[in-house]
């Protein structure tokens, strides 16, 4: 019985709202701090790569952004699945809060990948398997957001987009595999692995710290967006009066 209380609280909008209110700023502060240290470590302290010189420093935004884009999609799909199985309104709100952030970080991963590609491959775009699957991931996000926007009834929009997120997340590994398989058949000579040199520890710690910073940042943004979603969805609930401190 007691072990289930946390789960019930997770399903209760006022509890989640209060939790988000309490914790978002701490996650945000920790993210800002670790991001600043990681930027300093990555851009200033880390020695240049022996091959890519200082161009390798792009890894400090590219890799965390690419990782986050996938993490956010997974988070979205897990929330969607939880929402479908336990009919949890909070989980629908969380999934809705994930999508735009995830799409933005997919754009960052693509943009930085292209800017990295220019000096390394000599062109902004090559059909590198990672860039290609990142592009398909962006389309998956667009599909999800399009479906959400295309259905007027908010309850239906929640449920339909939740099914899509679950179907999408089953497809993500298949897409990744197929794109890598496709690329291995048409191996182009100039393709070079992005960000996989043998890493000096002075290069590695800022990268790991940046991953942590991006994760903390995402939690802070998600909690804040979740509060906004909950207020909008629960506008007729009595807890909202207390939460916004209205007379």
């Amino acid at each position: 019985m007691a072990t289930w209380t946390w789960f019930h609280r997770l399903g209760s909008p006022p509890h989640v709202y209060a939790f988000a209110q309490r914790w978002a700023k701490w996650f945000g502060a920790a993210a800002a701090l670790s991001m600043l240290v990681a930027v300093y470590g990555g851009l200033v302290l880390a020695p240049p790569d022996y091959q890519q010189k200082d161009a390798f420093r792009i890894v400090y935004v590219h890799a965390p952004a690419a990782w986050l884009s996938l993490m956010i999609y997974t988070t979205m799909a897990v929330s969607a699945a939880v929402a479908l199985v336990w009919r949890m309104k909070v989980a629908h709100a969380a999934a809705a809060a994930c999508a735009p952030v995830g799409a933005w970080f997919t754009v960052v991963a693509l943009g930085t990948g292209m800017l990295w590609g220019k000096p390394m491959w000599g062109a902004y775009w090559v059909w590198d398997p990672r860039l290609t699957s990142e592009l398909v991931l962006l389309f998956l996000y667009f599909g999800y957001m399009g479906l959400r926007a295309g259905i007027e009834d908010p309850v239906k929009a929640d449920k339909a987009s939740a099914v899509l997120a679950v179907v999408g997340v089953v497809n993500v590994p298949i897409i990744k595999f197929s794109v890598e398989w496709w690329n291995s058949l048409h191996q182009t000579a100039t393709v070079m692995q992005l960000g996989k040199p043998t890493m000096d520890s002075r290069m590695l710690w800022p990268l790991l710290l940046m991953f942590l910073a991006f994760a903390l940042y995402f939690i802070a943004v998600l909690l804040t967006r979740l509060r906004a979603e909950l207020l909008r969805r629960e506008r007729n609930a009595s807890w909202v009066r207390e939460a916004v401190g209205a007379a």
């Binding site: 667009f142 599909g143 099914v163 899509l164 298949i174 398989w181």
Partner: protein
């Protein structure tokens, strides 16, 4: 309508027979995606080159992009009319498994659209310079691929039932999910044209179809239920 005593298999059979009968009463609906496919296949020589050797290189891409777009067009007919006239609601209320009935609809839909497409593809392929002995490979890859596409598309079609402009949205949802089908299918066609062993990509395509077979009908039923609520 079906009585509750009908078994799930009988219900599925009845749904399939009904769809077949309806389809043959409106043959234009069946022909349109095929004509569309042939038009797309004609546009490529006109925009690229009439030179057969260069067209042959482009043929897998032309055939597969054409097939995917044409099957998207055909997906419009899968649920929309039945949702509008309340048939799907009757299905959901009948007490029979909605998953089973929608799966029967999807298979029938493939029989009426995907299979004919695979069977006329050699005409387009021949016009693109594909040699005759590659045709069995072309047919096999397109038949299997369009089946997988029908399964994925059924989920998309179900999800967009409640949306305002379903058509564009359906493509936006379904095409990214169809990327693996396109990759393996086009590769199989390419190998068939080059005289290679088409088994590896066909197995991978088959694996996707099997995965789709187990998951897509469930997702499609969930999607349609949401649309009907």
């Amino acid at each position: 309508m079906t009585t509750p005593r009908t078994s799930a298999l009988d219900a599925a059979r009845l749904v399939a027979l009904r769809d077949l009968r309806l389809a043959f009463r409106k043959p234009s609906q069946l022909l349109q995606p095929l004509v569309f496919f042939m038009i797309v296949a004609t546009l490529f020589p006109l925009s690229l080159t009439p030179e057969m050797s260069r067209l042959r290189d482009a043929a897998p891409g032309v055939l597969w992009v054409g097939a995917l777009l044409s099957s998207l067009l055909a997906l419009e007919f899968l649920f929309r009319e039945d949702a509008q006239d309340g048939t799907l609601e009757q299905f959901a209320l009948s007490g029979q498994s909605l998953t089973g009935m929608l799966f029967a609809k999807t298979c029938t839909h493939w029989l009426l659209t995907g299979l004919p497409l695979a069977l006329i593809a050699p005409v387009a392929a021949g016009a693109l310079g594909v040699p005759g002995d590659a045709m069995p490979g072309v047919i096999a890859s397109l038949a299997l691929g369009s089946f997988a596409m029908s399964l994925v598309g059924a989920v998309g079609a179900g999800l967009t039932l409640g949306a305002r402009r379903g058509g564009v949205l359906l493509s936006l949802l379904t095409l990214p999910l169809a990327v693996p089908i396109l990759i393996f299918g086009a590769r199989a066609t390419e190998l068939a044209i080059g005289g290679g062993n088409i088994a590896p990509p066909l197995y991978l395509l088959g694996a996707i179809a099997v995965l789709g077979l187990t998951l897509a009908p469930l997702a499609a039923a969930a999607a349609v239920r949401i649309g009907l609520e």
